[in-house]
């Protein structure tokens, strides 16, 4: 991170008040769209963005459908800061994780704020491969926002930070809980931390493979083993053992 942060180059001239911007790896960010279903929270986030010498554009609801929203956002703003929960008062038909993932695919830097509750993480988990910057609301400040954008841009440039680099990793299923909503399974990743048990929603696994998930079952997946928190782990490219024919 230190290297990455060192690469960040800030410029905001006190003499040119309109030239508020942030330059990251040659990409200029000056206008930041703020997405939150609560107007007060939206405004507060706008203060923080302004403090980062960036122009905040609070997005009034109701937001259009996701694809339209992404297209219009790309035209209006250089980056986005979004809360995860957006459905209050018909503000949006999608949640923040879906929005940030779509923006990521459109190469628009976006930071997702969440309270890191288990329910939120369950809902976000499948989008984490496309969310380089998942920040707790307690940690939001001008620096973390700027670093968050930088992480996105470095991934767009195919240079993810070490904590986001995926490696082929053995995953062992510890237990399965199908009666909960959502259905969950718990895994151990010996190559990450042999003691920590990670809770994952079962819908992370392709539907036709879900029945394979049972205690003791092992499979390979691409996992960002450099992640510091279990909540930041993502799982892609699942490889399941070839089924042996029963005699």
């Amino acid at each position: 991170m230190a290297i990455l942060e060192g690469l960040l180059s800030w410029w905001s001239s006190p003499f040119l008040e309109n030239e508020m911007a942030l330059n990251i790896f040659g990409q200029t960010i000056s206008r930041v769209k703020v997405i939150d279903d609560d107007p007060t929270a939206r405004q507060a986030m706008a203060f923080t963005i302004t403090d980062a010498d960036l122009e905040a554009l609070p997005a009034e609801g109701p937001l259009p459908k996701l694809s339209t929203f992404v297209t219009s956002t790309k035209k209006q703003a250089d980056a986005v800061v979004s809360d995860h929960r957006l459905k209050k008062g018909h503000y949006a038909t999608f949640n923040g994780a879906e929005a940030v993932a779509e923006l990521y695919n459109a190469h628009c830097p976006a930071v997702l704020c969440t309270r890191w509750s288990t329910a939120d993480i369950d809902a976000i988990r499948q989008y984490i491969p496309f969310i380089p910057s998942l920040i707790s609301i307690d940690e939001i400040n001008p620096d973390t926002i700027a670093t968050g954008f930088a992480r996105c841009i470095s991934e767009f440039n195919s240079a993810p930070v070490p904590s986001r680099r995926a490696w082929r990793t053995l995953v062992r299923v510890e237990s399965v809980e199908t009666s909960s909503k959502p259905a969950l399974f718990y895994v151990a990743i010996p190559g990450w931390d042999s003691k920590e048990i990670i809770r994952l929603p079962l819908d992370l696994i392709p539907s036709r493979r879900r029945k394979l998930i049972r205690p003791g079952f092992r499979f390979f997946a691409s996992v960002n083993k450099g992640a510091e928190q279990p909540e930041a782990l993502f799982f892609t490219n699942f490889e399941f053992p070839i089924k042996s024919k029963s005699k």
């Binding site: 007060t40 929270a41 507060a44 203060f47 288990t118 001008p142 029945k211 029963s246």
Partner: protein, 690 residues
């Protein structure tokens, strides 16, 4: 030229590896020989243990099956490791053979220093074929093939019927009582003793343990079950089910879509199966109308309860063994106890019928290979159990509604009857009885009022909990977040604008806002944390870890209120099996209790002491404070719901502590004034280890 042709040869050690090491338990090894009898179309198979309580004893397994001739012994019985199972083939009695790779048989035969096989084939029962295996010869040999074996044929003088007797002599170890009990249970359950087929296979163990269990199994208390679930999985993968009551009346029935509730109601990709489960309500009231007693049924279920699995008529171990709750019935019951059976209150079987080989047993006979077909069979049984639970919950809801209407009517009627009865009593005694009854009515009325109050309190608190959670989420998500960010923005901007003057002007009030916001965040986090689903899962819980975590969560409150918490925790990491939520409830409620009572006294420094010590397999946790102590209420009554001396107190905090401790199998005591002068509580919890 030297002849270099050769073949693979095996060291005698391989016999031990394939036999004892793959089939380590005596009961499963003997059971393999009993299954051989089943495959030989025997109706009876008898296992006799002679002098097995000491070394050198004998085990004899005899049957009235088809027997074997020399060819059958040499090319069948003596070949190890070949799967003898051809699912398409049927035995003479039309049984699907259990099949055996011979490894369990090998383990059984090697239990002694020698084994003898005598067999009389069905085609020529007067002919006897004898084979003796002396294991000491193998021990002396370099390779297995060095030891010659021969099958000797002779003619019986007195004739007789077909069958086979295997004798294992000079046992290498004693057979323990526990092993005899396990063998007895395994043999009794092997051929579905709950079925009604008098022509079926009947294994018998000549041992007192067996006859006791056999008596029990024959008791068949099925008609005393409160409910019978009968679920069927058809060839096409669809399920249907009915639930009948103890009189046989159908209470509920379901088609596939009601059982397989997932999106699109997926079919079950498994073998045909029938799942029967008999559920008992083990209380005296239910059994007052039954022919058997609740104790008898409890003992019966204690031995045979749980869901057993049968494949083509033979039991597959270990499903339904003690400790093997393969359908997680006890876990489901622990999560939602109402109207769910446990392995102690129900008995059942899943019988599968298939010859396609989809359900394959593991080589070491430790159950089925957990392939898709098995998991789908399990899903079918689980879904049927869930459907039954849903039906019974609906029924319970109706019952409760009707109870609410009926109960007062019944009370009025009963009172009337008593009053009429009193009127019939001779006048001199009537007055005394009337007075006694009146007194009883007053006490009962008081009890009812207390219970109503308790229910009302629980409802109110539940609502308060739900509301608190909603508010916690809303406030943490929005107002607190906004205040926090706005305050930090003021700080940044003011520092920039005012420079050094910021510290003299705005720093203090801004820091106060930020600190207060942090305290509010904690409040929200505590609420969320208590509601965390994970914490209600039964698991191994380290008690000290929870105490420390709760104390840490409360730190901002303690700081605000000038409370000093001294935790002196014993060495080690004492743990028990329970839920984190239960331990958290105990600690949280004690801390809350101290915090609210501190408001009633003025002391220089508020203190809470938490001390733990391990003694006699228990963890003692002592909570002390220097508050006002327990006044105006007997310390034994502080646990009663609704009992509080604090205005606007719920009187439920300590009741919850009491219930949580009881649930964990512990005890809790209150003392009016403890070491710190205020209230003192001593919790004692049984632990699994430290």
């Amino acid at each position: 030229m030297t002849d270099t042709s050769t073949s693979l040869r095996f060291s005698p050690d391989i016999l031990r590896r394939l036999g004892e090491e793959l089939n380590p338990s005596l009961d499963q090894s003997i059971l393999e020989l009993v299954k051989n009898s089943f495959d030989a179309s025997a109706r009876e198979c008898t296992v006799v243990l002679r002098n097995t309580e000491k070394m050198g004893g004998t085990i004899e397994i005899s049957d009235d099956g088809d027997g074997m001739d020399a060819e059958g012994i040499i090319n069948g019985w003596l070949i190890l490791g070949r799967s003898g199972r051809n699912p398409e083939q049927r035995t003479r009695l039309n049984r699907v053979p259990a099949g055996s790779k011979g490894l369990g048989r090998l383990a059984a035969l090697r239990l002694g220093h020698s084994a003898t096989l005598r067999s009389w084939p069905l085609a020529a029962p007067q002919r006897e074929f004898l084979l003796t295996i002396d294991w000491s010869k193998y021990d002396a040999a370099q390779v297995v093939e060095e030891v010659p074996l021969s099958v000797e044929g002779s003619t019986r003088k007195n004739g007789g019927s077909s069958g086979t007797v295997v004798t294992i002599d000079e046992l290498r170890a004693v057979v323990t009582r526990a092993e005899v009990s396990r063998l007895a249970r395994a043999m009794i359950l092997l051929a579905d003793p709950f079925g009604d087929d008098p022509e079926g296979f009947r294994p018998v163990l000549k041992a007192s343990e067996f006859s006791d269990l056999e008596k029990l199994v024959k008791a068949r208390y099925f008609e005393d079950a409160e409910f019978h679930l009968s679920a069927n999985l058809g060839k096409d993968g669809t399920a249907r089910a009915i639930i009948t009551d103890w009189k046989g009346k159908t209470l509920f029935s379901a088609k596939h879509a009601e059982i397989s509730t997932g999106p699109e109601h997926p079919k079950y990709a498994s073998a045909e199966a029938q799942f029967d489960l008999w559920v008992f309500i083990l209380n005296k009231a239910t059994f007052s109308t039954r022919t058997s007693s609740v104790e008898e049924v409890r003992e019966w279920l204690g031995h045979f309860g749980g869901v057993h699995l049968y494949q083509n008529g033979l039991r597959v171990s270990p499903y339904g063994n003690p400790g093997n709750d393969w359908l997680d019935m006890n876990l489901r019951r622990a999560r939602s106890p109402e109207e769910r059976p446990s392995t102690n209150t129900s008995i059942g079987r899943v019988s599968t019928f298939e010859t396609g080989g989809r359900l394959a047993q593991k080589t070491d006979r430790s159950g089925f290979i957990e392939n898709d077909a098995f998991l789908e069979l399990k899903r079918f049984a689980n879904d049927a159990l869930e459907w039954m639970a849903r039906c019974r919950m609906k029924e319970a809801l109706k019952r409760r509604a009707s109870e609410r209407v009926e109960a007062p009517k019944r009370t009025v009627k009963a009172k009337l009857e008593i009053k009429e009865a009193i009127e019939r009593v001779p006048a001199p005694k009537r007055r005394a009885i009337k007075q006694a009854f009146k007194k009883y009515e007053v006490v009962r009325e008081k009890e009812i009022k207390t219970l109503r109050k308790e229910v009302q309190l629980y409802r109110t608190l539940s609502t308060a909990g739900i509301t608190a959670a909603t508010f916690a989420h809303e406030s943490a998500g929005n107002p607190i977040k906004a205040i926090d960010q706005a305050a930090k923005s003021i700080e940044r901007r003011a520092r920039k604008e005012l420079g050094d003057r910021y510290n003299d002007t705005l720093a203090e009030p801004v820091e106060l806002i930020i600190r207060s916001t942090d305290a509010m965040k904690v409040l929200g986090n505590v609420t969320f944390s208590l509601l965390d689903h994970e914490k209600r899962r039964a698991s191994q819980v380290e008690i000290h870890e929870i105490i420390e975590s709760v104390v840490k969560t409360y730190e901002p409150f303690f700081k605000e209120r000038d409370v000093e918490v001294a935790a002196e925790l014993a060495g080690g990491k004492p743990y028990l099996r329970g839920s984190k939520a239960a331990i958290e409830s105990i600690v949280t409620n004690f801390l809350n209790n101290s915090l609210v009572w501190f408001e009633k006294v003025q002391v220089k420094k508020y203190k809470i002491g938490i001390r733990t010590e391990v003694a006699n397999g228990n963890l003692r946790i002592r909570f002390d404070d220097n508050g006002p102590g327990i006044e105006g209420i007997d310390p034994d009554d502080v646990w009663l719901a609704g009992e509080t001396t604090r205005p606007n107190g719920t009187g439920l905090g300590l009741t919850i502590v009491h219930d949580a401790v009881k649930d964990l199998g512990g005890t809790v005591k209150a003392q009016a004034h403890g070491d710190l002068g205020g209230a003192s509580f001593m919790v004692e919890l049984p632990i699994l280890g430290k």
